[in-house]
Amino acid sequence: MIKNSILILGTIGLFVFAMIGLTILPKVFIEPNVEKANVYVWGRAVEGHKVYVANGCVYCHSQQVRPKGYGADIERGWGRASVATDYKGLSPHQLGTMRTGPDLSNIGVRQPSRDWHLIHLYNPRAVVKESIMPPYPFLFEIVDAEKTQREGLKLPPEYQIPGKKVIPTEEADALVDYLLSLTQRDPIKPQQN
């Protein structure tokens, strides 16, 4: 009923047809329109992006805001509609498809406090009581209070450890730099399509 060659070549043909459509055409049509990056990831934030990837933040936080009239992303204050230019040169992309937690496209503007982010990473429930976000104590060091000159996290009383200080590691600082770099301050040209 079906010849061997028709089966194999037909499968390859239909595959390549769609592959060109969904991977090559986007490269042709999207990339030339992407000029300079709107969201800069630079300096220590580049390391922070790696920490963000390593700990799988993307499985609960998206980084794409849907346009006005589609969902309530903008009404919730998550930022303006995302455009391709926002992600220029970024690899791996962290657009995400899940919002167990809120979208983070504009988190650097929505929550500019460095201390808040550090405490929230150490234990989310120290600042948001009912949060179901995992804690990241392994991004922090717990040091004897006398042994260090550095300032520890200003944790609420029930999360403090007597005689100890909670000091962010390089990774935690980098991650917070990355989160604070996620802003949509820069004006953009209206969306091409």
Binding site: N4, M19, I30, S82, V83, E130, S131, N193
Partner: protein
Amino acid sequence: MTTETKQVTAAVSMESDASLRQDAKLDEKSSFVVVAFILSGSAWLLLGSLLGAVASFKMHWPDWLGDASWLTFGRIRPLHLNWMAYGWASQVGVGVSLWVLSRVLKAAIPARPWIFVGLLVWNLALLVGGVEILMGRSRGLEWLEMPLYAIVPIVFAIALAGEAAISMLYARKVKHLYISAWYLIAAFVSFPLLGVVSSLPIFEGTVQASMNWWYAHNALGLWFTPMGLAFAYFFIPKVTGRPIYSYPLSALGFWSLLLFYNWNGFHHLIGGPVPTWFVTISIAASVMMLIPVITVAVNHHMTIIGSFEAVKYSPTLRFVVFGAMSYTFVSVQGSFQALRTFNETIHFTHYVVAHAHAGVYAFFTMMLFGAVYYIMPRVTNWEWHSPKLIKLHFWLSASGIVIYLVGLQWGGIIQGMEMNNPDIPFMTVVNNTKKWLFSRSFAAILLTAGHFVFAYNLFRLMHVRKVRPAPPVTWLDIQRQRALQPKPEPVTLGKRIASAVERVGNSFKRWANDVKIDER
């Protein structure tokens, strides 16, 4: 057994004696490789189930196992996906596919030692890739978290099995090419291409996101789906003893699947930062998927209709029919959730997670269970020990996945509607999902328990060899035997009530006796 039924059985086995002997010879040859793939995949199933359960618990008990970096949710969850998709589903899928191809093409699996070496490399790659994810060196792309030096060997191991599949296609002893073979060859041709293209380092930013979802959707659509459908097309006629309802319909289903499924990926980016016309193509293709889905559903349904009772007798058929029905369900659902209006609500919610499980578990994994229950006695020549345990496995898996889907999809729709209402604070939305996350954890316990029962069945078959399989019994035989046996007296409602009353009376008597003994 009466003499008459003995005669019937003898006649049936005489009829197909030559073909049976040929199949037995083929099974003997494929035995080692097929068993190796099934056992190896089942080991990954157990590991993957435990990871899935842990990830599920962490969703509502976030502090549980929260101190170690390698146990954090964001690493356990992708590892669950990778070990399930590339360990369990792909390995057992390849093993079953090779066996089915050997049967329908009447050709022995070639290059068996090389395929086995491929399996060893594959397992090593899964282990290395898994450790890398736990160490925080994920590639950061969903479905492609394992580093290139882990995923590329896996693609090559699959390509090796695919090469064997294509050799079998050309070396086949039958002129006619059965439907299952079309689907399996398509799967074996597509996946290596998919793996190679997705590994090219030419994608970044938004284009990488498009590639990512093109890959992830096609891993389901061009790898798991054709394999699962091939198994359904093989086992339903095999067990019921009835031919496939319509060949032209199957051809339509096959080519339209390849034509439309390929284009579905962008429906994961509806409302995202990509040109609208790309998304529109994917939405159109997703809706067009109704064509292959309905043709396949009609074909399977029309084949099994009239033999539906066989589901009670054949564990294989029970799993396969559950899988085939889930395929229709999940695909129709998929077509509708690609529509912009529905997607607006369910995008970014737990609903989508449940949808993915409906595809990979309710459809594909159930199909694999059915296939394994059929194949193992034939390739090892040892029978399963306990039909009761197989039944237990079925009910644990079936009830587990139904609870999973109902809870999480209902919860996901609520989550989506609340999220699209800016007057509801985000924390309220989160709090309202918690109970559904609990229901998922309950389902995870049932599913994991089911998988351990399955593994125990496999272990007993392999190591505590007891019973030889009976000569092949088809549904046709059972029907013929039943026609010869005297009909049992029909049980009327009155008789049922009488017997229930009697039982209650008896238990009262026993209780009264116990009391008397206690008083003494």
